[in-house]
């Protein structure tokens, strides 16, 4: 492993500030059935659920760590690994598929160097194929966070990647 990659790998595990989790737990501590809102809020804050945070939530809410892991792996909405600053979603539903979505997906793979549900080492991009984004008239469709890009082409993929590569990470 080259030094650069090793450095990137350590950068992926930044120091985790448990006071953020504590603030969330304090807010929900008296709410019956508080596990889901706490996990959702923790994911909003940390971008994913780090193990340290899961264990801390288990301790504070007096829930088995195993039970939290069961919930985290049951729902697709939770992520156990850090996610990118920009989440690129490309629709591969029927309409988009017919309009060439597979080529859009392939181009993103090439440009980003990652596959489905993966994150770039610099935590800039996470790429996901999704079944339908509900805007078939704009097929083929891509989204970056909350921005929608209709009528996608291979050229537009380049533009999107170039654009978001310039933007600040924080």
């Amino acid at each position: 492993m080259s030094d650069v990659v090793a450095q990137q790998a350590t950068e992926q595990e930044p120091e985790i500030d448990l006071s953020i989790a504590d603030a969330i737990i304090d807010k929900y501590i008296d709410l019956p059935g508080n596990l889901m809102p706490v996990l959702q809020a923790a994911q909003d804050e940390y971008g994913y659920i780090p193990r340290l945070v899961a264990d801390h939530i288990a301790e504070r809410l007096n829930v088995y760590p195993s039970q939290i892991y069961g919930v985290l792996t049951f729902y697709a909405q939770f992520h156990l690994k850090p996610r990118g600053r920009f989440i690129i979603r490309v629709c591969v539903g029927t309409a988009c598929h017919v309009q060439g979505a597979p080529r859009i997906v392939e181009t993103f793979f090439d440009k980003l160097g990652i596959g489905h549900a993966e994150t770039t080492p610099d935590l800039r991009f996470t790429f996901e194929k999704v079944a339908c984004l509900g805007a078939c008239g704009m097929a083929p469709l891509a989204m970056v966070n909350d921005s929608t890009y209709g009528g996608m082409t291979v050229q537009k993929v380049d533009d999107i990647v170039a654009d978001y590569s310039q933007r600040p990470l924080k």
Partner: protein, 824 residues
Amino acid sequence: MVNLTIDDKQVTVPRTATIYEAAKLNGINIPILCHDKKLKPFGACRMCLVEVEQMKGRQIPACTTPVTEGMIIRTSTPDIIKARKMVLELLLLNHPLDCPVCDKSGDCDLQNLTYEYQVNSNRFTDEKFHHEIDYNNPLIERDMNRCVLCGKCARVCDEIVSYGALTFIDRGIETKIGCEFDDALNCEFCGSCIAVCPVGSLLARPFKHKARWWAMTKQKSVCGYCGTGCNLTLGVKDNKVLTTIYDEDQGFHKGQLCVRGRFGYQFINSDKRLTKPLVKKNGVLTESTWDEALEIVAGRLKVGSSVAALATPRLTNEELSLFRTMLLENVGTKNFDHAAGYAHSALTEGFAGSFGATASSANILDIQKSDFLLVIKTDAYETHPVVGFEVNMAVKNKGVRLSILSDKRGKLSKLPDAKTLVHMPGSEVAVLNAIAKIIIDEKLVDASAASIAGYAEFEKALSAFSAEAIAAQVGIVASDIKKLASEYAAAEKALIIFPTGQAYTGHNADLANAVANLAILTGKYGKEGCGVLCLSEKNNSQGAVDMGFYAQDGGLNSLQILDACAAGTVKTLFIAGENPLVSYPDRNRVKAALDAVEFLIVSELFLTETAATADVVLPVCSYAEKDGTFTSTDRRVQYIKPAIRKNVQIKTDFEIFSDLISRLGGQAPLRPAAQFEKIASNTPGYFGMSHITLQKDGAFAPVKITPAFVTPHALATVAPETGKLALVTGSALYHSGSLSQYGEGPMHVCPEGYIELSRSDASANKIAENDMITVSSATGSMQLKAKVSLRMPAGVVFAPYHFSTAPINTIWSGAPVTMVTLVK
């Protein structure tokens, strides 16, 4: 009651029954994989589908459907059989079908149902699972490829054990049973999950490839470790105990066991067992004959009054009673005792004064029938794990409230809504007396209390125990003590539980009196779900007290006997199964006594540290090789019969005492049954019992209570010393006394002594997990491995006492709290 028809049979069942239970009650067997009678219905496996006429056309699961009046149920129509066959086909689709090498084969529900329903082909095809098998711990193997996802392991771990190691992870076809973050299993290893697993997904590793299920005989017995009195089924082949077998109908605990009971049986067939009598010749223990050894022993015992004896409360009632008879009548000494002389004082002094009986006023079955539990020390879970399961179930399933008074937090503190008051070590009696004062001051006293003997003096003496004064001394807020007092007094039924044992010196007569005073004050005794329950340490601790095997009428107690040995007034010491060098406080004191005594006789299973210093060592039988009775901590007298034949070269303690009595010119009964007849005729509560009547479930020896208040005396407080930490001793979950060191299972997971300390003390002393620490007290110094935990309060450290390799009595001289320093 509800009337319904099952398979054309008119039946009447309780309103709360499910269809499955209704059928079972009436002898109709519905096949099922995900049901266990102790667990809540789950409805996972779909094997128990039945037809209900009123729900026409639907197949419904019997295990989750409650009965209703007039239901007409059919359990095995052609459609139902077809559906069950398909369920089996689907289960077998991904199952590896490696039955020839699976240890579950023969006892496997999936295999048996496949056979019963003749599923000899499969219409579906799919890939098998490729989950990695978890071999990371020495006791429990997890092979998720064989799993049928019944969820019983995860449920038993939650509902009964309350550990929560296992859960369903992932979703859909990916679903499997696993631990958090898919880690290797690392839990308390009670093996309850193994017991309930219907297939070979969870297996006892020590039993792997030892024997086929059908090749073993299954022998009922009673566990030989703690005082809970759990029933066991031992799997025996070729006269060896190879495993323990789950029987959900066995005992009050319905077959549940802890790590010691399930995995600690290996000492029975250990190759370290003594097989020949040893006699010291020219300073060396040399193999001898029984005749020579017993003749030498009898010769020494004839000296009479300079003889003293210590016995382990692991012997049967018959043995202890015969030993006592021999000492009193044939030897002529009153100097005999057990459990270091103080571990039984809660019963023999405490309850004797408070209740007029040397036994607890409540039994284990009261736990789930109570409304409010007060546990003194979270260690009650570690010392008596299956009693701990009862507490878990009471709190989680029955909504019983739990308060804990302890010097540290523990597993019980994590139960839902459990309140733990953490006090400074050694101050529990002061808090209990403060509670009594609050109950009187707040006029929460039961109407019966004022007329009970000793009330006036008791009330007067309590003036020294105001909540505010005590709170400041013990480090609890006064309002918390008041709240606990009012909750205890207000509960309709309340039960107090506390463990005792050789490592719990503070749990003595004072503590027993303090809790008994509370129960008497509020009238919470002698009724269902009420009273006080002392958890005695060893499997027959209560029996040893009932047999009167302790210092009475001027006889010397254990520690006095040791001092008399050192002083030369006791010249012959007979130790039956105790290992004082490891388990009694103050190793130097014990060593001086054993070195000084002229003649030391030890009867033992193993050449323990104590036995190695003896002049004569007599090899004896374990509980699995003899018959007799054990009395559990709540006075359930249970009969054991030999599970295996004993080695012809060893004797039971009973045979040894009988032989010695005849050598001393007396007449001894030949069989334990005859000795038990004597016991039954002269032991209160045992009247009418016999080996024959006890054979099935045993019987409770009733306790007759004559209440009296025992006046508390001023208590010495342990002053904190700067730079020092307060060491409290106790039991580790995996061990019981020093015997479990010879059980391989417990030693796999907890092989050595350790010192447990808080995170803040660890960081203040720059100590990390597993660092070797020099622990020093006024009496000595030793090396222990550090264990950093969340449960310890700052300034308090804990060490278990079981280990010969790190005997804690080098630094502990018997005080409830010892001030120590830690150096890395």
